[in-house]
Every structure is written in C-alpha cells, then in structure tokens.
Symmetry: C2
Subunit: 357 residues, 2 copies
C-alpha cells in the first residue's frame, strides 16, 4: 500500500518551510517504512504567476488523488490588488471546498520551552492546550449571493451571505464533540445567537447533539465574550467549535496567546479523513527568501498528517519528540527567540529536527 | 436652554450602576449649572417583563426627544430562550437603528492604577490607549434578508446578510479619520478583503477618504491578523475602524487587554451628535442585585456624554478626575481588586466619586 503526499509550497515563506518539512517526512518515511511517495504542485500566487489560475486543474486533480496534502501558505502584497476571483486565496479556498475539507482543527498549545514568548503573564498561559474546531467549507466564506451591486439610488453596495444548513452544523459538531471526548470532555460552542439567526440554528443543533455525547459538557458563548475570555482566562477552554469566520478570528487570537504562532500546525479534514495540513501562520512576505522563517509549524503539520490522515501515530510521535528535543537544545528561529537560546536559520532548524529523529 | 438626559437602566446590574452614575450627573449638574433634566424609561428585559416589548413606543419616543441617553445594559439568561424578535437585545438594537446611532466609539485605556489587573505583561500594555470606531447600524446586524428557511431537501438553513453601501462606509470612515486627527493620526481599517466582497468595498472607500485627511496615516489589516496583533502588540494601534460584527469582537478583545472592562465607557452617536452612552461590559446577571458591580464604566460613560453630546467638557473632566482620584485612594470594586486596595461596594464607589467631585 503506497500513499501519496502532495506538497503545495505556495507563496512567501511557503517554499522554504515546506522544504524542511519534506526532509523530515522523507526521513520518517524511511525509518518507519511508511511507503509514502511525494508529488508537487502549484497553488496560490505561485500558480497565478505560472498559469494565471490560483488553483490550476492539474493541482486540483493531484489534490483529489493524494492521501494527504502539505501546504505552506498562500498570498502576498504582490497579488493584493487583483480582483477577488483571481487572488491567491482562491486557490486555498478552492482546495478546501472542492475536497470538502469541512473540519479545521487548530490546536493552540504553549510549549513550556517557549513560555516566555507569550505576551500574556506566565500564570495565565502556562500549560495552555486548547483545540479550536472551525467549520471550513460553509458560512460567510462560501455563502451565495455575494458581490457588488448598484442600488436604485445609484450607489454601490457590497454584500455577502452567512448561511449554514442543519447538516453542515451537525457534521462539524460531531467532529468537535468527538475531539472533546478524546481530550478534557468540555466543548464550548461559539455563536452570536442573540443577533444572528444563522447562529440560532447553530446553537439548536449543538444542543441536539449533546444527547449523543452525554460524557461531554457543552456550553455556549457569544463570540464577543469568547474573544474576551481568550485574553482573560484562556485555560478555561478545552475544545471550542465555531463557524468559518468566527473560527478564523478566534483561532488566530488563540494561537497568538502562545506567543509562538510559528509553532502551530493545523489540519483540514473531510469525511474520509483525507486532509490538508498547514501551519497556522501565513506567507509572511516580509521575511520570505531570507532563510529565517520557522519551519516547525510545518514540520508539526506533517506530524498531524501522519496521525490524522495516514494513521501513522508512531511516526507522528517521533517528529513531535524531535521538535521538543531541538527546543530543549535551545535552538530558536528569530520569531521564537527571546533572551536565551541559539538563533538558527530555517535550514539549521530543519537539520536539527532531522538529527534528533 | 434645558436639556434632557434619558436614563435607561435595563437589566442585570444595569439599575445598580446607572443609579450611581445618576447621582454623579446630578451633582455636576448643580456644580456646573448644566440645566440638565432627567427622564426614565424601560428597555430590554425590564421592558419585556412590563410591556411584552423590549423597546416600548414610549421609550423610543422619549429617546428621540432626549439630548442624550445613558444606558446600563440589557439581556440575561431569563430571556435567552425567547424568539429573536422579542429578545432584550432587540431593545438595544432598535434604539441604535431608530436613532441612527451609526458611530460607536469604544476607547480601550489602561488605567495606570490598575495596570496589574491585565492578563498581559505590563510592558505589553502599559500606557495602552486605543480608540475603536465601530459601525453600529449596518453590516450583518441589520442586513436583509435574514431568518430560517426550509431548503428543497427538507432541511433547514439559517441565513443572514452582511451588506454595506458606499455612504454607510464613508460616514463611519469620516468619524474615524476625524478621531485619528485628534489623537495620534494613525488609523487602521480592519476588514477581510481577501475573502468578503462587502469588505472590498469597505477598503476602497477608506482609501478614497485618505485624500481628505492627508495628515492621517491609513493602514489596512485583515480581521484575523487584527485579533492577533491586539494580543501581540496592542500599542501599535491608535484608532481602529471596522464594521459592526468585527467591531463587536475586536472592541471586546481590546477592552479585555486592559484587564478592567468594568472601567470602560462607550458612546454611540448619530450625525447630529445625539448619543447613547453605555459601559462596555454587559448586564452581568451572575452578580446582579448584590451591590458589587463596578459603576465606574457607567460614570465614565456619563462623562463621555457630557463631552460628546452636551458640549460640557469641564464637567466631563471633573468626573474623570474624580474617578482617577478614587482609584488613587485605592478604592476597588471586586472586578478590579488585585492585591492591594480597599474593596468597596457599588454604592460606596459611587459615593466616593461624589465626594471626590
Ligand atoms: C488566507 C485566508 C483566506 C485564510 C482564511 O481566512 O481562512 C487564512 O486566514 C486562514 O485562516 O487559513
Ligand atoms: C448585546 C449585544 C446585542 C451587543 C452587540 O452585539 O452589539 C453587545 O455585545 C455590544 O457590543 O454592545
């Protein structure tokens, strides 16, 4: 049984960090006899530049056939003034929707070795370990109708639609309840049910699901309050489930609580557990090409891939242990450098993980 | 020239905190010969209980005729299972839209006396002083169509509409550029222009306005990044302008950075500078009726009212100085109590401000 991993380096620092993760994947491939084969394709701005399409047919075809995908990042100022339909982000959004990757798992974990990097007080964040489950193929990201129209008055109006069906809510709810079962058994569903009708349905369905998971304690929180509580006392949370837009905002906020977003991986899964894996940070065009980006979030994304899509827990654990070891050794890329430690480049960090394997 | 201030205590801790602010307003009314007269009405859950309507006609009528409104807070678990149309929040939203209070000003200020209350490291937040300008009568809060519909498949779908016209964006943009002119001359407009068409228009109009305010430095930030940057380095911001939903989330996040949301006032203004003033915190039903709530955000909201709607800067400054004095004296309600200081009740705090005037 051979399995294919598709590498999509994308834009900005994407190629640099994916290159390191690829070495790591190849090493565990040998060590653990995983029989992974690797393929490569263009997405985002890189694809736009080469083919005028942020998601070329060839890329989509390869993605459909892959067992798992490792993505770097997409986007950058170079393409920021393009019309919406031909932006790099459409490549990412197109992959999510075409592959039906509705479940986005975003852990926010504080690495003890990096505790001092957080802008929060140590007692507020030490031991932080939250899982944000974000719906990824619905909500206002994909709602129709959308666009720009001219009103009778002659002025223009921009508009988008925020919509969820019962089944869309139920399937992401199940993923979240199951994640909670495997963790601290606490699930907080975030909505704005005091204002938005779509989230009244969201809350209703989450309440329905409660019966199927009696061992999980479900609570509800308005999104504004959730944004506050993450700052005030983030450790009150175990698993958070929310829609696409709120999840985008809250998962980035939660990631930043750790002070080291360069460490955080993410998984986007469909019903068949096929998945796309990517670091939580973006394409960081300001430091692209300088060899200073932190490859660890991408390397940890590769570990998540091994665990969630390829069922190779041992190889995943080996990578995670190697990452922990290089942190213990004091190796730090610029983004996680604070006080002590030895500053290393993207490549040096990748090599150190390889050596630790 | 006599002017009317309408008091809307609302729900939860609303009546307790508004009572203290009222005493303070009455005192400066005498001291400064302001010729304010006071009126009272019901809103939110309190109005629902009495009249089955969260915004009775009488309240709306009084609000229209008032020169300024002081609101406590609305909502609570008692009314949480009511259908959307008859929830306490509809009272608040109805006031905002009927009075066209499109400009919501939410300062996030760290009081030096309370610096230790923040969950962030002192160096990250000391001296924090951000103004969030939130559009308040448009966007997804009021967009049509909205509701719950049955699809052909038989399943239900909840939906809302996120829309802004050019003129709605322009008028809130002007308020924000003007606020920036009077402060640090830096304005950051927050959108999600890489995904949402409505915010592409938002960005375009903000860019247009730049020409009218050449002394203000305008930047743009995606909302997910803004949620991160507020945690990472909040002092990079001066004025932030954004839509209704993003503003709801980011202003609460920003408020919590200070660790003392019980201190933060807000103003909601229309084109005539008629305004509704309220604390940023909510109705806090868990501590309602216990006499422990912090009245200072409401008292500072009264000061904002004197400044923005009534043109009484001296009286506003007197209140702000009195609040600063009671903090210097070490008086603390439970929410801002940390380590030193003397714990006082809602009423004791109000009396102390009166005495300091
Ligand atoms: C690049 C952008 C379209 C994307 C999103 O908003 O989903 C990113 O912010 C993310 O969170 O993965
Ligand atoms: C109570 C609620 C409707 C309101 C809002 O979402 O606008 C509140 O959260 C606020 O920010 O004033």
């Amino acid at each position: 049984m051979s399995r294919t991993v598709l590498m999509l380096p994308g834009d900005g620092i994407g190629p640099e960090i994916v290159a390191e993760a690829e070495k790591v994947l190849k090493k565990v491939n040998e060590q653990f006899g995983l029989k992974l084969s690797f393929d490569y394709a263009l997405v985002g701005g890189a694809a736009l530049d080469a083919t005028d399409n942020p998601l070329p047919d060839e890329t989509l075809e390869k993605a459909r056939n892959a067992d798992a995908i490792l993505l770097g990042a997409v986007g950058g100022p170079k393409w920021d003034s393009l019309p919406m339909a031909s932006r790099p982000e459409k490549g990412l959004l197109g992959l999510r929707s075409n592959l039906k990757l509705f479940a986005n798992l975003r852990p926010a974990i504080l690495y003890p070795q990096l505790a001092s990097a957080s802008s929060l007080k140590p007692e507020v964040v030490s031991g932080l370990d939250i899982m944000i489950v974000r719906e990824l193929t619905g909500g206002i990201y994909f709602g129709q109708p959308r666009g720009l129209r001219e009103l009778e008055s002659g002025e223009r109006q921009g508009y988008n639609t925020y919509a969820y069906t019962e089944s869309e809510i139920r399937r992401i709810g199940r993923v979240a309840f199951e994640a909670a079962q495997q963790r601290g058994k606490k699930l907080c569903s975030v909505d704005k049910a005091n204002v938005l009708e779509v989230t009244v349905l969201w809350r209703e369905i989450m309440n329905d699901l409660r019966r199927e998971y009696p061992d999980v304690e479900l609570s509800h929180m308005y999104v504004d309050n959730a944004a506050m509580q993450l700052v005030r006392a983030p450790k009150q949370f175990d698993v958070i489930v929310t829609g696409n837009m709120f999840g985008d905002i809250l998962s980035d906020e939660a990631a930043m609580l750790t002070g080291s977003i360069g460490m955080l991986p993410s998984a986007s899964l469909n019903a068949e557990k096929q998945g796309m894996y990517e670091p939580c940070h973006g394409s960081a065009p300001d430091i692209a090409g300088q060899g200073v980006a932190n490859p660890l979030a991408t390397i940890l994304s590769a570990a998540m891939m091994l665990r969630y899509s390829l069922g190779e827990d041992k190889a995943a654990e080996a990578i995670e242990a190697a990452v922990s070891k290089v942190l213990d050794q004091g190796l730090r890329t610029a983004d996680i450098m604070s006080g002590e430690g030895r500053k290393v480049s993207t490549r040096e960090m990748g090599e150190a993980v390889l050596a630790a394997l």
